[in-house]
């Protein structure tokens, strides 16, 4: 075991019944140091995050009374089911719209020269690191009644289109807010595709379109899967945009969790919703991991964090 981390020649255990103390104590010391270094962060995370999370999960089965009551209520109270359906719909629309906008953009990034590409990367990262409140406030100004977007719709003959306080307005803004999370995984996969494969396909008689469809699209699929699952998952639990631009009558799941937690102190009910989001999140990420390789969510954040990979 230590030999794999220590490139220093350690004698094989079988050949040396009494190995020299040097490498072995060094390896042990290294392991102890590793544990001591990791301990504070892990303990903090455990105390302030994992333990309370377990508490909420357990509470969703026991609070106010033991059983599946909280979960049954989600599907029978006549309200939550509609919220769940609306949230799923918004998440799907945001994911699809993101894909439609993000795919050509990421593809263009792979074709652009170094300078243009740097500009395009920056453009994706601008919203990533622009204040969340500023961006949502900007959308609020744009889609308000009498706002720019309503006037634009008026120009093409669609008078009085209301966006603020509607699910459409929320979906529109969320598409923009979450688009970087689509583009970054797409680009990181597309970057590795050799464009000569497309030329090879065309020289073998395929049309431009079918070379793209049969060669490029399948190769870019891991990026599609990881970008789409990431955006879907983020959209599912998104709070700020629906809270600011939506309305309580058209609430998404995060708004309901907020009301149940902060106003009703109904941790059992909120917990059941939270567990539901968590399960969907874990399924989506596991599926993405299986289809697209490890850690797409982490990879996108790593790109954004400037972690060079």
């Amino acid at each position: 075991m230590p030999a794999s981390t220590q490139p220093v020649d350690a004698p094989p255990p079988a050949a040396a019944p009494a190995p020299q103390p040097g490498p072995r104590t060094a390896a042990r010391r290294r392991r102890v140091a590793a544990l001591l270094l990791l301990l504070p962060a892990c303990v903090a995370l455990f105390l302030f995050f994992v333990l309370p999370l377990l508490n909420i999960v357990v509470g969703s089965f026991t609070d106010p009374e033991p059983g599946l009551g909280n979960y049954v209520a989600l599907f029978t109270d006549g309200y939550t089911l509609a919220v769940l359906g609306r949230t799923l719909l918004v998440a799907l629309v945001v994911t699809l719209a993101g894909l439609l906008l993000g795919y050509p953009y990421a593809y263009m990034m792979t074709l652009a020269g170094p300078t243009t590409r740097a500009v395009m990367v920056t453009v994706v990262l601008v919203p990533f690191w622009t204040s969340m409140m500023a961006r949502n406030f900007a959308w609020m100004v744009l889609i308000q009644d009498g706002g720019v977007l309503q006037k634009l719709f008026g120009l093409v003959g669609l008078d009085g289109v209301t966006l603020l306080g509607t699910t459409t307005g929320v979906a529109l803004s969320m598409t923009q807010v979450l688009l970087p999370f689509m583009v970054l995984p797409l680009f990181s996969v597309m970057q590795q595709i050799d464009h000569r494969l497309l030329l090879a396909g065309q020289s073998l008689g395929a049309s431009r379109l079918s070379a793209f469809r049969k060669v490029y699209l399948p190769l870019s699929l891991p990026g599609v899967v990881s970008g789409a699952s990431l955006v879907f998952v983020l959209a599912l639990g998104f709070y700020v945009t629906p809270a600011l631009l939506g309305s309580p009558q058209h609430a998404l799941i995060a708004q309901v969790i907020s009301v149940r937690t902060r106003e009703l102190l109904d941790f059992g009910g909120a917990g059941a919703l939270g567990v539901l989001i968590l399960i969907v999140t874990l399924i989506a990420l596991a599926a993405s991991r299986r289809l697209a390789g490890a850690g797409s969510a982490v990879a996108a954040h790593a790109v954004a964090a400037g972690g060079d990979r």
């Binding site: 794999s4 490139p7 010391r29 140091a33 544990l35 001591l36 270094l37 990791l38 504070p40 962060a41 892990c42 903090a44 995370l45 999370l53 508490n55 909420i56 993000g102 263009m108 074709l111 395009m120 453009v123 994706v124 601008v126 919203p127 690191w129 622009t130 204040s131 969340m132 409140m133 500023a134 961006r135 406030f137 900007a138 609020m140 100004v141 744009l142 308000q144 720019v148 688009l179 970087p180 983020l234 639990g237 998104f238 709070y239 700020v240 600011l244 995060a254 969790i257 907020s258 941790f267 909120a270 989001i277 968590l278 990420l285 982490v298 954040h301 964090a305 400037g306 972690g307 990979r309």
Partner: protein, 262 residues
């Protein structure tokens, strides 16, 4: 491969969609109107004046700075130590430990908010600045771990071995070799931790009390509770203070990375 014209047009449109909407906050912030009317009918600096002089907004700025600083110190210390620890583990254990440390970025924020709200209610940390800072540390920790780990992975382990074979103790190897080499990663981790906390809304919203409103929460309340156009000045300042340094760091980092690889 040449890009077709339509592809270029689509890319430009998407690029505009990503950047332009946010820019409306800048003309908005110079508006003289008491509403969120856009484009503004007249101009004034009143919202900037209000941002820096009204007690509510300046307290919010101070609260945010305090929380972000504490978060930065906590997350950078814990995260850097953890990244150094991860680097010493065998690949298999490292994978599991990394997954655990990075889990807060995978869990939806609303769930983290619910979890921490209920836990802090019991610990009476709700409505305290230190409570918000602790919660933000959980969110910021992964960014520090990612930044420092990326830096450590590019580092030649032979340097540390050379140091210790030349007689340096573990501590002076750390101080004289590991830390200086990891420092850029630590610094970018610290910046990311600061920004993560300074811009965070959901957790701060859940943990707010009248005396612990952070700037993003004050902004949130200024459109939901009352109509206060000061938010447009705050947004503009945030865009300038948060986005510009990060983008500069990105550009410099990218250029340096490119130079290093060639």
């Amino acid at each position: 491969m040449k890009a077709r014209l339509w592809l270029k047009i689509v890319a430009v449109l998407v690029g505009l969609f990503l950047t332009v909407p946010t820019l409306v906050v800048i003309p908005m912030s110079f508006s003289s109107s008491q509403t969120f009317q856009f484009p503004p009918s007249g101009w004034s600096l009143q919202w900037y004046e209000n941002l820096f002089t009204s007690p509510a907004w300046s307290t919010a700025i101070r609260n945010s700075l305090q929380v972000a600083l504490v978060t930065t110190v906590l997350a950078t210390t814990l995260g850097t130590a953890a990244a150094l620890g991860l680097n010493r583990l065998t690949p298999r254990v490292r994978g599991v430990a990394t997954g655990f440390l990075l889990s807060p970025i995978i869990i939806p924020n609303i769930l983290i908010a619910l979890v921490i709200f209920s836990a802090f209610l019991r610990l009476s940390l709700n409505g305290t600045l230190i409570g918000i800072a602790i919660a933000h540390t959980a969110l910021a920790l992964p960014f520090v771990v990612i930044a420092v780990t990326a830096r450590l992975q590019g580092m030649d382990a032979a340097l540390q071995r050379a140091g210790s074979s030349l007689g340096a103790g573990p501590f002076s190897v750390f101080r004289k070799i590991t830390l200086p080499l990891a420092l850029p990663g630590v610094l970018s981790g610290a910046i990311l931790a600061f920004v993560t906390s300074f811009d965070e809304v959901v957790l701060a919203l859940f943990l707010q009390s009248p005396s612990t409103l952070t700037l993003p929460v004050q902004m949130f309340n200024s459109v939901t509770v009352q109509i206060d156009p000061t938010i447009s000045a705050a947004s503009s300042v945030m865009v300038l203070l948060v986005s510009v340094p990060i983008l500069l760091a990105q550009v410099i980092g990218a250029r340096r990375g490119k130079a290093g690889r060639q």
